[in-house]
């Protein structure tokens, strides 16, 4: 089954991806982020047609605990964050827990 890419974020963030053809998107203005970002993540995560979800790393700070754990651990769909240093912070924590060492430590 073919799936699509979805993007969640501010209109400035999503426009570029829409220019590349992404049609599933959730526009959330910076003022609405703390209220609506959680629901947007939940609804995109439930969508069977979405295989990859793109978010800005800074937006993760607006998420409450449960949607944040969806972003960090979900495999279908996979959440990919771009921008900011927090690129793979969830993954980094998981590596520390599973292997016991911080393998992503910057030199």
């Amino acid at each position: 089954m073919s799936q699509e890419i979805a993007v969640i974020g501010s209109p400035e963030f999503t426009t570029g991806f829409r220019l590349a053809g992404v049609r599933k998107f959730e526009n959330i203005t910076p003022e609405e982020k703390s209220d609506e970002l959680d629901d947007a993540v939940r609804s995109v995560a439930r969508d069977q047609e979405v295989g990859i979800v793109v978010m800005h790393a800074e937006d993760l700070d607006y998420l409450s605990r449960e949607p944040r754990s969806i972003v960090d651990t979900s495999v279908e769909p996979t959440f990919v964050t771009v921008g900011g240093d927090a690129g793979s912070s969830g993954l980094r924590e998981q590596i520390k827990r599973a292997i016991g060492i911080d393998l992503m430590e910057e030199d």
Partner: protein, 227 residues
């Protein structure tokens, strides 16, 4: 708990069998965990390269779209974005790494020619085309990152599970089984010592009785000979 097992020879044999099986399982799981960690290390190197490419592609795309916005205006960029007809699609196939099923993502219609994009060539400028192209490249990096990071997440989950199983065997099940084995062995030895002591007592008693009978027979013989 050691007190819960019946100290019988049959139980001891069953526990010895379980210890052997658990030790074999523990060794196998340890090897699986080490193998998974080695495979994970290879993926981690790849993931770090993919991640750095992704971030540089994102920066480039940001610069291009900001330029397009500045030159053409936000409305024109949004208008072009809304006109897109072809949509990128992904299909997932699976790959097996040491029993862990990891995805292999194939994409189509990510990179498009100018004609395929759907917005009019006359109404837009080269800045918008450049931004669209940069975002198409970014999407390709994102798809690659998604593939590698999903594989990492799945492998980490498997490593965690295997590690937990190894620890449960090493620090919970095996010590308990060994404690039970020791308890039964001690009890059986105690029973054996009691049995030997009892037999000795019976033997001593029997010998004393025989000595008494012999002494009595001797006395009787002496009495007869005296008469």
């Amino acid at each position: 708990m050691a007190k819960d097992v019946k100290p019988t020879r049959k139980n001891l044999m069953a526990i010895e069998d379980r210890i052997e099986l658990s030790e074999r399982g523990h060794d196998t799981l340890e090897q699986k965990r080490d193998g998974l960690i080695m495979e994970f290390m290879d993926i981690l190197d790849e993931a770090q390269d993919v991640r750095s490419n992704l971030e540089s592609d994102y920066d480039t795309a940001q610069k291009k779209i900001n330029m397009a916005r500045a030159m053409e205006g936000d409305v024109a960029v949004r208008g072009a974005a809304a006109a897109l007809k072809e949509h990128p699609e992904i299909t997932t196939e699976s790959n097996n790494i040491m029993g862990v099923v990891v995805p292999q993502i194939e994409s189509s219609k990510v990179k498009k020619s100018l004609g395929e994009r759907g917005y009019g060539v006359l109404g837009t400028s080269a800045r918008i085309d450049e931004a669209a192209e940069a975002y198409e490249e970014l999407l390709e990096s994102i798809i690659l990152a998604a593939e590698v990071e999903t594989a990492m997440k799945k492998m980490l989950t498997e490593i965690e599970t295997t590690k937990r199983r190894v620890n449960a065997l090493e620090f919970k099940l095996l010590p308990e089984l060994k404690e039970n084995q020791e308890f039964i062995e001690q009890k059986l030895e105690e029973q054996e010592r009691e049995e030997i002591f009892r037999m000795k007592k019976i033997k001593d008693k029997k010998e004393a009785e025989e000595d008494e009978l012999e002494a009595e027979a001797e006395r009787e013989r002496e009495a007869v000979s005296a008469d």
